[in-house]
Symmetry: C2
Subunit: 494 residues, 2 copies
Amino acid sequence: MSALNDLKARYADINALSSAIAIMDWDQQTYMPRGAAEARAEHVGALSRIAHELSTDDAFGKLVSQSKNEAQSEDDLAMVRVLQREYDLKTKLPAEFVAEKSRLAAIAHEDWVKARAENNFAGFAPTLERMFEIARQEAEFLGYTDHIYDALLDQYEEGAKAADCVRMFEALKGPNVELVKAIKERGRPIDDSRLHGEWPNPLQSEFTEHIVKAIGFDFERGRQDAAPHPFCTTFSIGDVRLTTRYKPYIGSAIFGSLHEAGHGMYEQGSPMAWDRTPLAGGVSLGIHESQSRTWENIVGRSKAFWQRFLPDLQAKFPTLADISLDDWYRMINKVEPSFIRVEADEVTYNLHVLVRFEIECDVLTGKLAVKDMPEAWNAKYESYLGIRPKSDSEGCLQDVHWSMGAIGYFPTYSMGNLLSYQIWNKLVADLGDVDDMIARGEFAPILGWLQEKVYRQGCKFPPKELVMRVTGKPMGAEDYLAGLGAKYRAIYEL
Amino acid sequence: MSALNDLKARYADINALSSAIAIMDWDQQTYMPRGAAEARAEHVGALSRIAHELSTDDAFGKLVSQSKNEAQSEDDLAMVRVLQREYDLKTKLPAEFVAEKSRLAAIAHEDWVKARAENNFAGFAPTLERMFEIARQEAEFLGYTDHIYDALLDQYEEGAKAADCVRMFEALKGPNVELVKAIKERGRPIDDSRLHGEWPNPLQSEFTEHIVKAIGFDFERGRQDAAPHPFCTTFSIGDVRLTTRYKPYIGSAIFGSLHEAGHGMYEQGSPMAWDRTPLAGGVSLGIHESQSRTWENIVGRSKAFWQRFLPDLQAKFPTLADISLDDWYRMINKVEPSFIRVEADEVTYNLHVLVRFEIECDVLTGKLAVKDMPEAWNAKYESYLGIRPKSDSEGCLQDVHWSMGAIGYFPTYSMGNLLSYQIWNKLVADLGDVDDMIARGEFAPILGWLQEKVYRQGCKFPPKELVMRVTGKPMGAEDYLAGLGAKYRAIYEL
């Protein structure tokens, strides 16, 4: 059994390096003084290189191969499968290509910051063209059979294909556009101006920790800090860090914290025996997002949730004391087409993603030239959301991702939205009246079900298999559309 | 010039790993949730092992040797010298010995915690005997010519010898014991009960950041957090972290912060060009301690300092508003023989160190059996400090160090005390009326002098050479004794 043990030991070293890098990144976004930036970048770069070497050298590849014959248990077999996939993904890309991509991404990021600030798409276009060319090369190195997009998407969502996305958006597009339109034209308007104001940061911190603790995020094995852009990061199963942000819109911290806590509880839910093995943690971006959206939207934006927590919120922020539960519930579920994806509500969110997916595919396959991207972008916003960006800064220059070379992962956001409802419906079928539990603040049965079905599975099964195991069917749009439709038609009295 | 460049690159990787370990340690003592402990220990262990391998393998040794012929500049020559010394120190100890020491130290630490809690020296004695045996073996591996203690001490203070310590304590002992006795018998008593009370942590944090910033600690390249045991740690020249603690005794945070800021400003003072090279940072524990003690005691416990800052303190803590400058100055300089070293005042501190040095030497050379240590310890406290511990928990079981295998480094505390006055006197000779500067809150000339003479030298010169360069003479006790005597005879009206 020596190759398998050596493999586990080698992976534990790689995991130690990854954990150190995660801590350094977390520190950089929470507490690091400004003067530290240059050395921190060098340090993270050095550790990344050492980890990359350890996880791509021939010795590691050989250990993976040899371990296949030794692995007996389900867990060991799964572990070897995961490591083989990771090894293949990493070694298919030549070292010079990876270095060149990093180099260009660093430049592209600078260019993008400048272009967005100056609303100068033309100045950024040549750089963006290069990043798409890099993505095309990457796809060729990784290989694909059906669509060039498949190779890129698979890195974030194992086994997912462009065809899955096309099918997903095909199902979504009509009903979603129609719902947005109906709300805009016929819905009873919602005034959420009361949510805007000055909310002292310490109180926001206390309240968000209160609700996040209540739903089941374990503060013995994690914490919450403030950061400019909320994220969740994992150093080990016993150490999962959330961040949130404090804005003049009170929903920012509340739903940001619930969202990250969804990611965090998924990470905390892996079996402790899997710590420092490749089976720990969330299996894919789509499944991960399904959990953050579950706790943010399905639970956190439900009336039952606020039946329990609105009094606590009002005790903490007395200026909100006269808002009724019904009014509060409507305010936090206001739908409004807007230009910026990260601020989008639950109903319009997928339409933002759709725009990006279509444009990525068209540019990758040469159907759309980068220089024509702004026009395509604006036309799609007009068609799907009924609004047209007045500038490229609030249009196709808004996202950081393409400048980083992260092309092919936007659809995982929509997969997360679909899967959140699909998994939730199964949970409700099993548990019965969960609204009543939520209203009483009893989250243990809900969290327990998700832990058993999803979180405790870690990375053992590929995402598509996990979805089948949990819900009994492949990912589809019906649960999502039914849930969303029922909720928002009621809210907007359509 | 390829070996030298390779050496620098290799060192940069080792530095990245060390920095990551430092961040993980810092996080562990400031923000880490409890559930993270086990994985954190594994991660730190893995990174330490990788760093140790990189810095002790034959390839590294060869690079160091080859670089000697290539190094031309003063800095490169110094760098190679430092790396050769570090390589020798690390490679003289066989890997099995290092592993065995770590293993025993982990057990010894547990045993010590238990023994101290239960006041059971007899139960700890066999473990302690093993740790001293390990220290003897370590000294043999490292080698020495005059005294077994030399080999151990040299690890913390390059070139320092037992004979230096004997000379130092010989000079100190009489005058120091006499001063303590005179204060006790004839001094005008000091009542410092006003310093004890409840001080809100946020106010303590704000005030200590205020004074630490005023003396010159750069918050663009560092920060201060709370930790159970104050420390200073360096991730890079641009990222130096202080910690302090908030206690019912207000002096704890104030002088703890000033002490750590002294360490921190030394670390921040290295030339930026030396970042991620072995020339960055403080050169030895003794020199480091001289700077923490300078800012804590010579500056921070001076009347001039509080002429500037007492009004600020009183504005922050109005219950102190009626205390006069003279009374405050006496309160913070109260001398009182006590059992616990870490709580000792400036006058009695060296006597605590002396007890430990004498006992370490006697046990190492076989003059004292471990089982007889409590009696020897108590007799020395009675003789030097005039008090006798009532239990071993407040006697020879109080320090964590021996259980960790850190035998041979206590004297560096006293070296720091001596050097703080010796360097300060040179500073005063160069700058003139520094009291007046301090009273006006003008610290830039003082910090500037220390930066030029000490901090900017980093690890370029061995500590003994640095002392000669800065003060024109080897370390001696006369400046310290004169300074201490004058200050405390005035305070106690002797």
